[in-house]
Symmetry: C2
Subunit: 205 residues, 2 copies
DNA sequence: CTTAATATTAAGCAAACGTTTAAAAACAAA
DNA sequence: TTTGTTTTTAAACGTTTGCTTAATATTAAG
């Protein structure tokens, strides 16, 4: 028997990941992927049974390594302020390496029953935010912050961190940013975003 | 000469708008659009010369009527607090009517030179936020708020309002919301978002 | 009615799509 | 080498894509 993970199979996966994220599921063709992996079309369907199957394979794996670790930070056992700074910093650095990840995920989730739904659910990305809500309740009981809905705070955090990457092209156009100044803009938000979240929490009414 | 805007041409435009927003440019086929408009494929290319041309026509128009009016609110001559509440309220109501607009725009802007770039630029959506920056500077000089970068504040505002719609499907899954409770969640943000923005501005830290 | 412009239709084009086939090449174990 | 399995290739399959053609209706004016 040959080695279970041939070099070709891995090259196809990498090419698929790159092109799916870059152009979306339907705009990345099997021929694109084969060419990018320096093989031919038949091999894509030899190792993976279909384009759909390749898509699932690639991203179930890709997501367990990227989004999930940072998504869990909100349920970690850390002081509130530390947690928020860590969350923002970690996601920001992740996205600076992979800026098209957010627009890719949200694009594929379009149409109610997108291919990513199952993937995300079985990857455990849909955990309730009970732990985070409890921490916010405790802080509110201590009078450190106002009583808040954790879902709203969580939404705010994700929004403030992800949106600059989601709208990267528009931001670059509107404010005439190149890659360097965009990275600068995003780095500034490592302060702006936590301060925004904390200012809201500490503003007692 | 026949009337310049036949009923058929208008039906095609409406069908195209609906399907482009719903499924994106490349996932909405000419046959889809023709069927939805209750005509045939040839007529789509008779009135508009190509699918690309139809796309541009439809959305140049659609955007001048939706996004631009609310985008200009930030440059209106209004007190800061009033302006922010008005901005959030107007965009939120707009998006409750057209929830897929944000994900559509950002999806089509993927790939650096998406079809929307020219459209947005010639629609004037790329105006600099000089007026808003000046207002923030004046308020800071008066000591009402801290000195801030208007681009960051603008980004925060857009992020907090648009993101719930961008991630609508994920939010619904994660928190088990139906259409009604999602609308409720979004309505709560008409208070949460302005309070978040203002808490940051007024926090002189 | 005649005529010419406009609107609509059914049919078909070439190209690109995801996928399959059948044969060749490479490889490992006997 | 022989045998059997795995990997790779070139070619083609049937569909769907955006778009065009050529013929037919419809309309309005002279």
């Amino acid at each position: 028997m040959a080695k279970s993970h041939s070099n070709t199979e891995e090259k196809i996966k990498e090419a698929a990941r790159k092109l799916f994220v870059e152009k979306g599921f339907s705009n990345a063709t099997t021929r694109d992927i084969a060419e990018c992996a320096e093989t031919n079309i038949a091999l894509v369907n030899y190792y993976f049974r279909s384009k759909e199957n390749l898509f699932q394979s690639v991203f179930q794996e890709s997501f367990a390594q990227t989004f999930l670790p940072v998504a869990r930070i909100l349920n970690d056992d850390l002081p509130l302020e530390v947690k928020i700074y860590k969350f923002v910093d970690n996601i920001t650095e992740l996205l600076k390496r992979d800026p098209m990840l957010p627009i890719f995920v949200l694009s594929e989730m379009r149409g109610e029953h997108g291919a990513m739904c199952q993937t995300m659910q079985q990857a455990g990305a849909m955990e309730q935010s009970a732990g985070f809500q409890q921490q916010l309740d405790e802080e509110a009981a201590k009078g450190n912050i106002r009583p808040v809905d954790a879902r709203q705070v969580e939404t705010n955090l994700m929004a403030l961190v992800l949106f600059p990457f989601l709208s990267m092209n528009i931001l670059k156009m509107k404010h005439q940013l190149d890659d360097e100044t965009f990275a600068q803009f995003v780095d500034e938000r490592k302060k702006v975003v936590p301060e925004t979240i904390l200012a809201y929490l500490r503003n007692k009414g």
